[in-house]
Symmetry: C2
């Protein structure tokens, strides 16, 4: 892969990929950059710039060929690469994610779950192998797990992240309230702050509706 | 609020707000834009530009005063504004979110849950009021609910979104696999694609480790 592609472009292209899958499901065969941009909330210019990072792709007067563009992104982002994933923390959210259908197949398959509470490990019904948290480093190494989802209490987040990274995990989705940093030599972290999403929505709504104060 | 603040700035400032809360919890009193930027994965220049959108704020040689900056963002983004929220779809994920501690207090409080299955409504144990999905429009209107979290099966997503918006919902967090569009006169939508987050991580990892092909 061309390492010149910026991270923000990779993120947008990954999101574009999802949209193109949806287009194909809806039998849309060609699409303009403006349509993609409108859907994603970015400009048509950004769409074209992102796509151009992948090199030459044919465009007709009717826009991009949807299947061709999707395959182009797939190939250049290396989306055929399979990676194993695990979930740490099997409280309400972790358990829900463990049962999340999309995580059971596809290229990024959840193959292990961890919790520090032995009772929890015994109670959770799943076909996925569960382990006590003290075994994270060893199991992650043995099973060659590269991706992890953290849904532990906030105070345990950094410690769990450190152990995952020592085991060889390279990418983390963090659902705790604590922001876990991506590290130069460690793992990439995507922090998902559910409450923060509500805050963002509220702030954006304030933009549209002037405060009464 | 100054409507000139771009959406992307509002989003970053909301995320910065969370980080500043964390700084305060860790007894950090002053901070440089470079530190904020490093933490958030953006440049110090963007940090300063975003903060400057809020107008004059004092900065010393030791950087920003953390408490002052946090309060500044709080005030300018209107974060004191309280809004009620609801969750539609009480499967594994919806149920987990219903029990999510942060949603039970704070300014964006979940006060209602909906599911189309009456059995589910009877089974879920919660202090939050639950209603059948056919009542979405009416209940949302009555309770003046402005924010909603959608965790229904994908095929129901757009219909649920339409009903929420007709009831008066202005902001939606969408957890389904279907991308729901923000609408000019409708609601703002934040699409959270859990599987897509793994895809993004994998694509970003490919950037760091050249494909073997």
């Amino acid at each position: 892969m061309n390492t010149i592609i910026p991270e923000s472009t990779v993120i947008r292209l990954s999101q574009m990929y999802r949209f193109l899958e949806e287009c194909i499901a809806n039998e849309v065969t060609t699409i303009f950059s403006a349509d993609i941009g409108e859907h994603m909330g970015i400009t048509a210019h950004t769409v074209r710039k992102d796509i151009n990072f992948l090199g030459e792709i044919g465009k007709t007067a009717a826009g991009y060929d949807v299947v061709k563009l999707k395959n182009h992104i797939h190939e250049h982002l290396g989306l055929e690469k399979k990676r194993s994933a695990c979930i740490v923390g099997l409280g309400n959210l972790g358990k829900a994610l463990l049962h999340y259908k999309q995580f059971l197949g596809g290229n990024y398959k959840v193959i292990a779950g961890f919790d520090s509470d032995i009772n929890t490990l015994e109670m959770v019904k799943t076909s996925i192998s569960l382990y006590p948290s003290y075994r994270i480093e060893e199991v992650v190494k043995d099973l060659k797990i590269e991706l992890a989802i953290i849904a532990v209490p906030s105070k345990a987040a950094q410690d769990v992240a450190d152990r995952l990274i020592r085991g060889g995990v390279k990418g983390i989705i963090n659902f705790t309230q604590v922001f876990v940093k991506s590290q130069a030599d460690g793992a990439l972290v995507r922090n998902i702050d559910l409450y923060g999403e509500l805050r963002i929505l509220s702030a954006l709504l304030n933009l549209k509706e002037p405060l009464s104060s």
